[in-house]
Symmetry: C3
Subunit: 132 residues, 3 copies
């Protein structure tokens, strides 16, 4: 099963929890054990796993990444969003998740986050769910 | 085959070679060709591949990551381990490895490392091994 | 299908577009829907997806990564390429891509890049293509 799902972002830089959107696809597929493959088809947005408990963690991750690749730095790319491309390479555009007993095999405090680095925009996620 | 294996860490920040632990699971599965999927179910620990030959490489990687996300920086998260969450997002929580002829397809100098960023702790790895 | 393909790099630090090389393997396999697994079997080179439209993006990503892990920093590893190992851990050594309708499911502006961090060298990529 290959699906494209929509993610609407509302800030230039933002972490959006997409765990439920992905769980819905897994549930829809009816697959009990397998793998969920995700690709972000954009070059200024990324995907990874991090903590869902305390919102201040999201704030600190975004601050930390902004220090690593500042928005106003002296870049050559004329669109002015090179910081977004650098952050995308650092975080990564794909994620591969284990499905066990109809759910993603994640830890208690983990959620899957879509990292918007050049929003706000209407974004997509490519999702493929495969049975063992 | 889905298994949870234990990794005991002994420092706050540390790279632990888990190549043999993973090879043992692959060997136990009896799979000749396939894929090994790994998830770190924690939000302050990560997994990736790097050099196993000279221990000074590990030292330099840890120093380098500590400069990128310093432990004492001015974070908002009250647990005081935001640097660990940032490092986790940079390195990544999942790894997907090719199994060829009953072994992980790795280069000569490569090992799989569990990156502890907020230890020492008792940690887990989720491993799924799938036949082609 | 498991194959090793060659990537020749010409600079110390460089992003080489390997999209066509990978597409050729997928095409050769005849697989319509499935997954393409890639591993870089080196500890000073990495792989990820980024923009293929404006060459200045590549220039800015390389500059940005060089600031994060400078080549001349005070490292302990005597080979003098610790910056390359750090960059490799940041970007990552593996990539898992969805194959849909005989092609990689990528966005319009995306290409797969081999990140050389200690070249010029003759490098390899391990590629496995699996049918659903």
């Amino acid at each position: 099963m290959f699906e494209i799902i929509n993610v609407k972002t509302s800030l230039r830089i933002e972490m959006v929890d997409v765990t439920e959107k992905i769980e819905r696809q897994i549930s829809k597929s009816g697959i009990e054990n397998g793998i969920c493959y995700i690709t972000v088809p954009h070059t200024t947005a990324a995907i990874t796993i991090n903590e869902n408990a305390d919102p201040s963690v999201k704030f600190d991750i975004i601050s930390g990444l902004t220090i690593l690749a500042p928005a106003g730095a002296d870049y050559t790319h004329l669109e002015g969003n090179s910081d977004s491309h650098i952050k995308t390479s650092i975080i990564g555009s794909t994620l591969t998740l284990i499905i066990d007993s109809r759910k993603m095999a994640l830890g208690t405090w983990q959620s899957v986050y879509f990292y918007e680095f050049d929003g706000p925009r209407n974004r997509n996620l490519y999702i493929k769910v495969v049975k063992d």
